[in-house]
Amino acid sequence: EPEVTQTPSHQVTQMGQEVILRCVPISNHLYFYWYRQILGQKVEFLVSFYNNEISEKSEIFDDQFSVERPDGSNFTLKIRSTKLEDSAMYFCASNRLAGAITDTQYFGPGTRLTVL
């Protein structure tokens, strides 16, 4: 069964450094998402992406964050200058059609980001 994959599984970085989290969505999916879960808290929406554009973003997704689909398979989340509070599990998700009501979002296993 096709699945969303994410690399690395765990990333440790120093505060102020740039990190890039990578995701390979399911191959025929067109809509891509990033969510994050701070330890002990709920899963939070960050951004949705379609047709090489951000379609929606949350208040969390400030100027320090960016997303990109550099080729036909990868979908990346970049944090320009990491802060301690960016430490979290970051989940990538994808679906084929727009709208949760029409198509389920499939989640990857997550990347645990630790900012020291």
């Binding site: 998402y33 709920k42 899963v43 709208g99 979002q105 989640f107 990857g108």
Partner: protein, 112 residues
Amino acid sequence: DQQVKQNSPSLSVQEGRISILNCDYTNSMFDYFLWYKKYPAEGPTFLISISSIKDKNEDGRFTVFLNKSAKHLSLHIVPSQPGDSAVYFCAASEDNTDKLIFGTGTRLQVFP
């Protein structure tokens, strides 16, 4: 801003019995609700969903009930199995958006 709330952080149920996980929401614009299951070191896995035009959706051992007037939904698992032990997240969305709003999760443990 807790638009989706799961007030029980954990639930322990004996194998074979019914598990009932509850979820409350505050946003009346939500029109689609989902349950995801999450094992450690894995991403959330879709389990079952319900549209706001229905009050019940069933899929095998899993049934979701929606009470719109009370802004409450529940997930029933019967019979519960040890493999059901996981964290269960309730999520909701509005029709004009793709983003999912998650609850804080309920850890279900099914013991023999």
